[in-house]
């Protein structure tokens, strides 16, 4: 009896450490792998040029990036996005709670990695997507939201969260 007690006294803390360690260390990956794909919300918004965004804008493999000219971290991840777009990744912008003139000026100043930017000044579409702020990025495959990250998109997150899904999808095709 005593041995069982001693064993459980050792095992319990070990179990707790493993449990919390797992939660703490693999949080980022969990976000993507446990993500239940859901259809992209229906919306009717213009792009920054004033043209109505067509339904087929989110067909195929697209990266949807939530950005704004007032968002400092968006400027930090901007070079990475530019790099992605130069490597044939289609990026759709979601211009979030921004003034269109300011957004257009921002793109002129820093360059435009986006195929188009959906203009969402009140953040209605962003709310439907569960956006909590900017920047955030979504992976969309044929109008299905398959992954979502909050904060800066960088090489590490791209490689561990988005790239495996894209590769699997390309293999499937």
């Amino acid at each position: 009896m005593n041995q069982i007690l001693r064993l459980s006294l050792i095992l319990l803390p070990v179990m707790i450490i493993v449990f919390f360690g797992k939660v703490l260390l693999f949080d980022g990956e969990k976000q993507a792998s446990n993500f239940d794909a859901k259809s992209f919300p229906v919306f009717q918004l213009n792009d920054l040029n004033g043209n109505l965004v067509q339904a087929d804008a989110l067909k195929g493999i697209k990266l949807l990036n939530v950005w704004a000219s007032w968002c400092i971290t968006c400027l930090v991840e901007h070079p990475f996005l530019t790099n992605l777009s130069e490597n044939d990744i289609d990026i759709i912008g979601l211009n979030y709670k921004n003034k269109d003139t300011k957004a257009i000026a921002w793109l002129k100043k820093h360059g435009n990695p986006y195929e188009l930017s959906i203009y969402d000044p009140r953040g209605d579409l962003a709310f439907e997507l569960g956006v909590t702020g900017a920047p955030e990025s979504f992976l969309i495959i044929d109008n299905q939201v398959v992954a979502h990250i909050q904060g800066e998109l960088n090489q590490l997150k791209w490689d561990s969260i988005f790239l495996p899904i894209i590769n699997a999808e390309k293999q499937r095709q």
Partner: protein, 126 residues
């Protein structure tokens, strides 16, 4: 100058407290009560641990506005919580539903506590 310090600082504090007050108008007090209990049970997605009632983050303001609209529309508490959870994840509910892996969340601490008590009890008898 020194004489002016107190009145001016008082004025500034007053101005601050006025600007942070958002006004929600309700048809009756039941709606109002439901609204305030709902916003205290929905987690702010931008804060590690706080409800949207306690947060003035832009997304919490949007969430409160949405909850307000849904309450006025006459939606039930469960409908409103599901609506938010569908968009912001199960994480948004401070009182997670009793299902699936949430059993661990609800009963884990009690199981853990009873295990400790059992061990303690046996140890003393031996």
């Amino acid at each position: 100058m020194k004489k002016l310090f107190l009145p001016i600082s008082l004025l500034l504090t007053f101005a601050l407290s006025v600007s942070s007050e958002l006004v929600y108008e309700f048809k009756d007090s039941t709606q109002e009560k439901r609204f305030y209990s709902l916003i205290s049970e929905i987690r702010c997605p931008k804060c590690t641990s706080g409800s949207i009632a306690s947060s003035d983050a832009p997304v919490s303001r949007d969430l409160k506005q949405k909850v307000y609209e849904l309450v006025l529309e006459g939606r039930s508490d469960i409908e409103i919580k599901t609506y938010i959870a569908d968009r912001f994840g199960d994480f948004s509910d401070y009182k997670p539903a009793l299902e699936g892996s949430n059993y661990f969340l609800w009963f884990g601490p009690f199981v853990f506590l009873s295990l400790l008590l059992i061990i303690f009890f046996f140890k003393r008898r031996v």
